[in-house]
Assembly symmetry: C2
Homo-oligomer: 215 residues x 2
């Protein structure tokens, strides 16, 4: 009996920090980071603002921790580019990237504003864009090597990869611009990811080699 | 002599209103609309905040008047799509669209935020996206008819036009995300427009028919 309460006491801070993160992500995604205050997050969790500040002394610390997770998750997905050999695999891969961006859509919703306020974000995002660019250039090269795509001139490969990065990054912003009241709501998840993936895949389709028996 | 001062007195309000608009556009473009207050605009113009409010009773009125102008200018450019027959013309046309977006880049820099605060903007932007979509679908069709592009299946034509709209709309946001301190500064104008145009044109290149004598 004497040890029983000690376990929750030890674990409580970690659990609280985790719950704060999850709730922040949900509120940022739903209302936009600039519109979700730390007081709102504390209220949603039924904790005091002081308790929240104990774990995350500023909203920027919350954002940066969420960016850590996003970076990690995105790197895991990008590492899978090396295994893509055909158009089906490319579609699945682009779908994974799109799903990852959906999960952290608050970052892209107010990117200019976040970047203006958070200098750390600038360098981290820059690195992430570079990784995406590399992975997508590599993917195009692999699809050429398997004969799935016609040869894409090196310069156009760079342009194509940049267009893919941009399209995936801003697809949800475009959906939001067209339908501000519903685009980022959880019920739009599957449709938004499907549409964004299809738009990205469409950049590869015109490079496809003509259908052939099994050359 | 008695009539001479009457002329400036009559014209003054219009001139002031115009100067307010021009200065607002410049400050919005430079610092982002959320970061440029009406007091900042008044100070830049050396007029009192009261004088500014006399012409534009709220910042939203300023934004909406600028959107009027953007709409008008964009419609003028979009009307030129019908004359495009070849890839050179397509490049020039996309360049004009990109230049127009550059001139009103504040709209795209903080689009999600502006849309959240300004419901009127939502419908007007929706209409503008539709007009862009139509013009670009039409452009693709014309390039097919002249044999510049291979036949693009109808469904892919829609997807392609949407990708062009998105790319032009968010190119400057992407440049800002990569270089927040310089991307939207006036000295980046030519390079940004050239790059954005090239990225957009790259969506058409893989559909180009193989070079042929003069079929």
């Amino acid at each position: 009996m004497s040890n029983a309460p000690a376990v929750p006491r030890q674990k409580a801070p970690r659990r609280t920090a985790e719950r704060i993160l999850e709730t922040s992500l949900a509120l940022f995604n739903r209302y936009g980071e600039p519109n979700a205050s730390t007081n709102m997050i504390a209220a949603e969790l039924n904790i005091s603002p002081g308790n929240l500040y104990y774990h995350y002394p500023a909203k920027e610390a919350l954002v940066n921790t969420l960016v850590d997770r996003f970076e990690h998750a995105m790197q895991q997905v990008l590492a899978q580019a090396t295994g893509v050999r055909h158009l089906d695999g490319a579609g699945s891969f682009l779908g994974l990237l799109m799903a990852q961006i959906w999960d952290y859509r608050f970052l892209y919703r107010d990117l200019s504003d976040l970047l203006t306020r958070n200098r750390q974000l600038e360098q981290r995002l820059d690195r992430l864009f570079d990784l995406q660019q590399q992975a997508l250039e590599q993917l195009v090269q692999q699809l050429q090597q398997t004969g799935t795509l016609r040869p894409v001139p090196a310069e156009q490969r760079t342009t194509l990869a940049t267009n893919l990065v941009l399209l995936l990054s801003y697809w949800l912003s475009y959906e939001y611009a067209r339908h501000p009241r519903s685009a980022l709501e959880p019920q739009n998840q599957d449709a938004a990811i499907t549409r964004g993936t299809a738009q990205a895949l469409a950049l590869l389709l015109p490079w496809q080699t003509a259908a052939r028996p099994d050359a």
